[in-house]
């Protein structure tokens, strides 16, 4: 729980190698950090800054732009219940109340055993399947309170662990790019000119 592990530093260097500028790897490395700890720790952000040549504040600035990076511990399973129009019309509020009563926590908080976090989400683009929710960003459609109960039962019992990995794991299969296919990082001081789109004066 802190900086990236040795194994993850190795992966981080491989990821950095895919981009011409190390900074471009910031977001993939934040995912790596979130996979490691379940959320993005301050120490990991400082570490990423060291790896890509940015200050901690810049990494934090980038990371905090994105809702899906969490900076405080969340449960192993993050349940996002959609609360936008279609879902709201088809019972999302009831679903949320039910989840709150079932788990004994308010939306936005985590169960005492650290298993489940409830969150209210904006539209998840499954309006035809309302009300919908996501468990660690895996969809469940047309969810009734009963189905929610059995989902929570399954999650608690560990029945879904093969389908739904712990929060932070983006994909169960990690993509590897062989070293000979990597772009190879160019140290910033060796980049002699900006790409044209970065030169404000060339814009017009």
């Amino acid at each position: 729980m802190a900086r990236l592990t040795e194994e993850n530093v190795r992966l981080a260097r491989e990821i950095i190698g895919r981009y011409p500028k190390p900074r471009s790897a910031t977001i993939p490395l934040l995912h790596l950090a979130q996979e490691q700890d379940g959320y993005v720790t301050n120490e990991a952000m400082s570490h990423i800054g060291e790896l890509v040549g940015a200050s901690s504040a810049e990494v934090f600035g980038t990371a905090s732009f994105y809702e899906m990076f969490k900076f405080e511990p969340v449960g192993k399973y993050l349940i996002n219940i959609c609360g936008t129009m279609s879902c709201a019309l088809l019972g999302a509020e009831e679903l949320m109340h039910h989840a709150e009563e079932r788990l004994g926590i308010k939306m936005g908080s985590t169960t005492a055993d650290g298993k489940i976090t409830l969150e209210r989400a904006e539209c998840q683009a499954a309006c035809t399947e309302a009300p919908c929710l996501q468990v660690n960003y895996r969809y469940r459609y047309r969810v009734t309170p009963d189905q929610l109960d059995s989902l929570i039962d399954d999650l608690s019992a560990g029945n879904l662990s093969s389908e739904i990995p712990a929060h932070g794991v983006v994909a169960s299969v990690r993509q590897h790019i062989p070293a000979d296919r990597a772009v190879g990082a160019v140290a910033p001081e060796l980049v002699t000119e900006n790409p044209v789109w970065l030169d404000g004066k060339a814009a017009l």
Partner: protein, 788 residues
């Protein structure tokens, strides 16, 4: 009157290929390709409202306040004038109803969440948002909703506070931190309506330049602790002046209210500071207001001082001078005063036959460094190569660091750094070469003929930034290194970076050593009992001379010590007579920066107590000593100065009142060529001591400024991590640092930027004084480090 047009069209200068002619509100405006519309409009005083645009930083188009109308192929279109470059024939209008509507709309949106706490906001009265809401706003808002509320204020550093609800997200502070200062420690965080400026948790905005963000903040979101709630802008009176904290000579405006200094703001001087200041220069005005200032002359009786009248104190000094043996009077210092102070003390020294004088305290270079072809900051930053043989510029001359860093970032120059450890400029250097103290001069000839370096040096002008990097290394090593560079690149010019604000002025105007009798020689003579009267002119040898033992012996050996200072410094407390001197902001005059640029310094408040300007004290003493002196005003001195000092013409002082000043070249009396030193090889069990200054230390002006007093760090000895293993000490534990002279105990820290075999100790920090190990007659200092 008739004029005859004699212009021959053939004599016209060739058409500038980058010249562009545009029309703004019907006026033809000449601009250059690449300029933005807003800059072209500024050049003819067509004001376009703006919040995020700053001429010294890149444009980002964040605030959308500077929308103007440009004629396009399909009629007028709205563009952001800070992001749109000029083009030949462009027709711009800044005053149409559409433009006005856009401006009013933007102001209304910016004010939707901006609190109307102007009556209690420090910015109120000088606030671009407030001013432009009046000048370009609709007057009334349609928003009736509750505004945002945040916890306030948040300290984002020891000096700067953030009121988030006032922030309009213009990106000026974050851009400054990233682009100009190179310390991107603040950043936009969150998103959309929740976007905020924030530091990383537990990593404060500890930049040496943080005060600039407060100055350029277009609202009251960033405020600095020394000025918070101290005054209202309309109560401030101000005069333009020059900062004399270091020798860069940044232009400032000194602001006061009710006879108390309250704030300095940077003024944009194109050849010098571009509007920026460092935090030390910006906030150390607090020391002028300090209650610890000397307020009346003090005469020592027994072990304590008794306040006296000026006439008694001056008479006792004059009596001592009168009865001193010939050639036994010494003057140390003068580099903290004005040119006029230095000139009058030089004149007094000449009249009284003072042979021993030095404006530096054995921590600079011989004045002969001015006899080389001289560079300016602009010429160093213009192009070619800059060779750094200097102390850490970021620590000692912060605004010069900004200029050099900018020139590197814009790919105008390449830096070659030759230093004993990494500095603030190392990561911007094209080549950064480690040379152990005492070995640089020997390494340079081979180094500079390496193919790539030689090609770089041949490709354009070369400027050598020369100073005294390591205080535990004698000046002769620095001069040898400079000579070695100039032997390879004879066409190079030199930018001398000496310590203290007006060191160049003092050396040029009469306080340079005569016949090689520099500060160390003077102190040595004093230790031997050959100094009957030692005058410390704003000098504190006990705190500043690297060989503290020499300083102690020198002060103790002097028969009579006169200290002219603003505070009772360590050395002044050993004086027999202490005369209170007027501080910065309390006297008028001129100063000379490291380039030789003469600019004005001004009086803004009444001198503390009965303190007087140094030149007045010199004039009084001259009169008491029976020398004819017709000096009663500053103008008398400037008149005499322009007659006596070649290059310091009568126009200089008049021109110097203007912003950018004027560069003059005064050749100080030639000093005896310094002896070449050869440093013996270092015993591999020992460490070579590297003693260098940091921006914040225990200097009197810093510790008497409450906001800066706590920024000095604990004294540590820094060595390479592998050396730490060799010493067998754990990080942070105390080690014994010793040589044949003395032994001190310091905590040890590992730092991979320190080469193996070097021990770096920052100068004058809190804790044991490493100067105990330094002896002036040894050109380098090697120490043993043992775990305890």
């Amino acid at each position: 009157m008739t004029t005859i047009d004699t212009t021959d069209t053939n004599d016209l200068p060739p058409q500038d290929p980058n010249a562009v002619s545009i029309t703004i509100n019907g006026r033809t405006v000449e601009a250059r390709k690449g300029d933005f519309i807003i800059a072209a409009a500024d050049s003819v005083d067509e004001y376009i409202p703006r919040f995020c645009y700053h001429p010294r930083m890149s444009s980002v188009g964040m605030c959308r306040q500077c929308m103007v109308e440009v004629e396009g192929p399909r009629g007028p279109m709205m563009v952001v004038s800070c992001m749109t470059p000029v083009a030949d024939g462009q027709v711009v209008r800044t005053d149409t109803p559409q433009v006005k509507r856009a401006q009013e709309g933007m102001i209304e949106l910016l004010l939707a969440n901006h609190p109307l706490d102007c009556p209690v906001c420090d910015k109120g009265g000088e606030c671009p948002l407030q001013d432009q809401a009046f000048s370009h706003g609709a007057g009334e808002s349609r928003f009736v909703e509750e505004k945002r509320h945040y916890e306030k204020p948040i300290p984002i550093s020891d000096l700067v506070f953030l009121d988030r609800e006032r922030c309009i997200l213009c990106d000026r502070c974050t851009r400054f931190a990233d682009e100009v200062a190179g310390d991107p420690l603040i950043s936009f965080t969150q998103r959309g309506n929740n976007t905020q400026i924030m530091t990383f948790p537990d990593e404060p905005f500890a930049s040496y330049f943080s005060g600039n963000t407060v100055q350029i903040c277009p609202v009251g979101a960033l405020t600095a602790s020394p000025y918070r709630f101290k005054a209202r802008p309309w109560d401030l009176e101000q005069r333009e002046s020059t900062c004399t904290t270091c020798s860069v000579g940044c232009r400032t405006v000194v602001q006061s209210s009710r006879d108390e200094l309250l704030r300095y703001q940077g003024v944009d001087s194109d050849p010098v500071n571009w509007g920026w200041l460092c935090d030390k220069g910006r906030f150390n005005f607090q020391s002028t207001n300090s209650d610890d200032r000397l307020s009346s002359p003090q005469i020592k009786s027994g072990d304590s001082f008794a306040a006296s009248s000026w006439s008694d104190a001056l008479e006792s000094v004059a009596r001592v001078i009168r009865h001193s043996r010939e050639g036994s009077i010494a003057i140390l210092g003068g580099a903290r005063g004005t040119n006029e102070d230095a000139f009058m003390w030089g004149a007094l020294a000449d009249a009284a036959g003072v042979t021993m004088r030095d404006a530096q305290l054995d921590d600079g270079l011989p004045a002969s460094v001015f006899s080389y072809a001289q560079a300016t900051i602009d010429s160093a930053c213009a192009g070619g190569t800059v060779i750094l043989l200097a102390p850490d510029i970021k620590e000692e001359l912060p605004v010069l660091y900004l200029r050099l860093r900018d020139a590197v970032q814009k790919k105008r120059i390449r830096l070659i750094e030759i230093s004993s450890h990494e500095t603030g400029l190392t990561k911007y250097a094209w080549k950064s070469i480690r040379a152990e103290s005492g070995t640089a001069a020997g390494a340079i000839p081979a180094l500079l003929v390496q193919a790539d370096i030689a090609a770089q040096l041949a490709s354009g002008p070369v400027v050598v930034v020369a100073g005294r990097a390591n205080l535990a290394e004698s000046a002769s090593h620095s001069m040898d290194a400079l000579t070695a560079v100039l032997a390879v690149v004879p066409s190079a010019s030199v930018l001398p970076v000496l310590r203290r604000g007006n060191v160049r002025g003092a050396l040029s105007l009469g306080l340079a050593p005569r016949n090689g009798n520099d500060a160390a020689t003077i102190l040595e003579a004093s230790a031997k009992g050959n100094v009957d009267c030692l005058i410390l002119l704003g000098a504190d040898p006990l705190s500043d001379v690297a060989d503290v033992d020499l300083a102690r012996r020198g002060i103790a050996g002097a028969k009579f010590v006169v200290a002219i200072d603003t505070f009772l410094t360590a050395s002044a407390s050993h004086a027999d007579v202490v005369l209170p001197a007027a501080a910065y902001g309390e006297k008028d005059g001129t100063t000379m920066n490291l380039e030789g640029r003469v600019t004005s310094v001004v009086q803004k408040i009444t001198p503390h107590g009965t303190s007087r300007a140094d030149w007045m004290i010199a004039v009084e003493l001259m009169t008491l000593l029976g020398h004819e002196s017709n000096f009663t005003t500053l103008a008398d001195i400037q008149h005499a100065m322009s007659a006596a000092v070649p290059g310091f013409g009568s126009t200089t002082t008049a021109v110097a009142i203007k912003r950018d000043g004027v560069v003059v070249s005064v050749t100080p009396p030639s000093s005896a060529p310094s002896a070449t030193s050869v440093a013996g090889p270092r015993n591999s069990y020992e460490f070579r001591l590297d003693l260098s200054r940091k921006l914040f230390d225990r200097a009197i002006g810093t510790i008497t400024s409450p906001s800066l007093a706590n920024l000095a760090s604990e004294a540590n000895v820094f060595i390479h991590p592998l050396d730490l293993d060799r010493v067998g000490a754990a990080e942070g534990t105390n080690v014994r640092v010793s040589n044949s002279h003395s032994s001190i105990v310091l905590p040890v820290r590992a730092l991979s930027s320190i080469p193996r075999g070097t021990a770096w100790v920052p100068f004058n920090q809190i804790g044991a004084d490493v100067r105990e190990l330094v002896r002036r007659n040894e050109s380098i200092v090697d120490v043993r480090i043992e775990s305890m």
